[in-house]
Point group: C2
Chain length 427, copies 2
């Protein structure tokens, strides 16, 4: 079932939809050529905001969870894409080790059960190895749907990581390692670690991703003859900022002022009658604070530090990214609906709406208490219907989301290439 969506689509985004639909063969060819040169991340989810006047990714995750919320009809697509990915990376693969986050959250464990299903159905023996010290013997946890998940203690020898009687050739991380890279995952040169360690938050920076996405969006904008701002959030990388000191707050206030002014100019250019806002985010990992006015910085500073500093492994002086806030115009009944696109290898394999009941369009739906509604990409993100009035077709919107999701994934691929410690750079 596709949730009933109330979407206030206005001018520019309809034009964008139309242009994207008309250019479909051009776009698909462009992606094909990009993937000749670049390797897609193993799997990705992309949070998208549809503001009506603008459609942009706001977060690109390389260790996505929530796979259990995808519509069941889409599972075969994920399996087929996983087959393609495995075949490319390690065709002789037999055993796959899944390394999850250390949590007993049942929702997360259902996600894990779904990932195990996908890789099993792609033809691999799958077992789950826990990084947690609590897991000293195989531990089976029953799930609400009747399935169960068995967590086993990891066993590391000099060269390989595995479980008791289980030697995997491929290790899939479903843990973004925001608390740092545990030694047990380092120096694994004989096994495929997917995604690689430098895709975790110990290496990744949102500012690098934003920069890479800006580059991708510019090229894509040129391809389609449109302003790339319509698909890319403005941002400012502020570096390490000590929010407890007046000079730190001054610097942050200046960055925010400049960014808000840039957004205001764009709003004016497009006749958008909205109040600009930005998000203050940690440059590595999750968490973020909304800011409508640079003057609010002083009042926000303690909350900001609390939000950015609570992650395990967070820096004493956090690195800060300011990102243009993109409001959400999609609603399911009275709740905000924020689309998330799921990708496996280079393929869009599904999507869901994160639904948040609060009536504040600026609120992040990833807050605790956010509900999930599986977004049944009923005709999949790959089945646009040409000839239908812009804004009126759900499959067409899903196709557009799939394109934006792939642009963000491509940016992640650029980002990973640039941060790959094993790469040879010719700059």
């Amino acid at each position: 079932m596709v949730p009933h969506l109330v979407t206030a689509l206005t001018g520019p985004i309809n034009e964008l939809e139309q242009r994207i639909l008309e250019s479909m063969p051009v776009i698909e060819r462009w992606f094909r050529l990009e993937w000749m040169e670049h390797t897609p991340p193993f799997y990705t989810s992309v949070d998208i905001r549809n503001a009506g006047f603008k459609l942009a990714p706001v977060e690109t995750r390389l260790h996505p969870d929530g796979w259990d919320h995808l519509a069941p009809e889409m599972l075969p697509l994920a399996v087929q894409a996983a087959m393609a990915a495995i075949e490319k990376i390690c065709p002789e693969a037999k055993n796959l080790l899944l390394v999850p986050r250390s949590t007993e959250d049942r929702c997360y464990l259902s996600n894990l059960a779904q990932l195990r299903r996908i890789f099993y159905q792609a033809g691999l023996n799958v077992r789950i190895g826990s990084l947690s010290n609590q897991i000293k013997a195989p531990t089976t946890i029953e799930l609400p749907d009747g399935a169960s998940v068995t967590l086993e203690p990891l066993i590391r020898n000099k060269r390989r990581l595995g479980l008791k009687n289980f030697d995997p050739c491929t290790i899939v991380l479903n843990n973004d390692l925001s608390a740092g890279v545990p030694g047990i995952l380092e120096e694994l040169h004989e096994q495929y670690l997917l995604p690689p360690l430098h895709a975790s938050w110990s290496t990744r920076r949102k500012s690098r991703h934003s920069k890479a996405y800006e580059e991708v969006a510019k090229r894509f904008g040129k391809l389609l003859g449109m302003d790339h701002w319509l698909i890319a959030p403005l941002f400012a990388a502020c570096g390490a900022i000590d929010g407890s000191s007046p000079p730190g707050l001054d610097a942050l206030r200046n960055h925010a002022d400049v960014l808000l002014a840039k957004i205001r100019r764009k709003y004016k250019e497009y006749g958008i009658n909205e109040k600009p806002f930005v998000r203050i985010k940690s440059d590595r990992g999750s968490g973020g604070v909304l800011l409508r006015d640079a003057k609010e910085i002083d009042r926000l500073a303690p909350a900001l530090l609390a939000r950015l500093g609570t992650e395990p492994g967070a820096l004493a002086v956090p690195e800060i990214l300011l990102q243009e806030g993109v409001p959400t115009c999609e609603r399911i009944n009275a709740a905000h609906a924020e689309p998330v696109v799921y990708l496996m290898d280079r393929y869009v394999v599904g999507g869901l709406y994160r639904v948040h009941a609060e009536h504040d369009a600026d609120h992040s739906a990833r807050a605790p208490g956010a509900g999930f509604v599986p977004l049944a990409f009923e005709h999949s993100a790959q089945l646009p219907q040409p000839g239908i009035k812009p804004g009126a077709s759900v499959p067409n919107r899903f196709y557009m989301y799939g394109v934006i999701g792939r642009l963000a994934m491509l940016a992640a691929s650029y980002e990973l290439e640039a941060s790959d410690p094993d790469a040879e750079h010719y700059d």
Copy 2:
């Protein structure tokens, strides 16, 4: 909707299902390794017969039609597989030319519209060029579902084939060329012709395919530790036989006697209480006659010649293949249901049942008047459910069908390699 199937599954096939399910990671890995060495045909459909005691392919088509009968939910899988195929063969592709059979049959044209949809959604500009002399200008034909198909005259220059203002880099044949290869398709060295000309019936021989399939089935049987007869029809390649002469009929009778005796021995070995039969088929192209007893040959000869000799381009003295008849035990209500598996590149993308109302289990469902029921691979052929009682799970049976379909496709890939005029052979 999955059609309600009445299937009398007895001993051996349940064992086979169980063994195939248990061996899933082994099987998938085996296919992955095979596809490292061999190139799958561009697209394939495989007719399968489920006899209850035996499950085997009886026909492998390399220019499949009937795509419009697949369940709509499976379309995204076909699109994703087509993307993978195009990406591998010609990532820079922009324009794709579809060359169909010359027929105004609306069912076939609906199939064409569906193929056009799949390739368009995979990101290509698709147009249709007709081999028919009747098509002298673009001709649009309306279809019952409201869609339409435009056939355009082909334009050939010295090096390339195209349409007016349309220069394709890829040409997809949906025509098995059983009437011979038209000159307009020859010597196209600058464009990708998919499948290649030697995949058409002017080069293909069923006997070669049967031989290749036997080899594949043997290796697969060894992998799973089972008798490959359970998945492979016995056959005899008789060569050119003049059915109008007594020596020709004698030879055919002898071949039939030997083959029937072989089947009888196998039936005895497995305690199968059925009367063996064989099919007399043209070694190239379609058509076939049922034979229960070698003595019937004299009576059948004229009918046989009529059936094998009516194809345009048929030889005066047809080459004959005898194939073990595999009865059908699947029924939808009182009608026989014969599964057909569809593959794009290396992926199973759907399937359907050909349904025939006649109560004769031996009858070929491909006779005129055969109905089609889309076989909604509800959980797709890639989603088996381990732990379910053999014979009781539709997804598990579909997975098994998908495996047999891929074995036949692999055999076609061997066959095409062996008959490739451009290949370098090191025998």
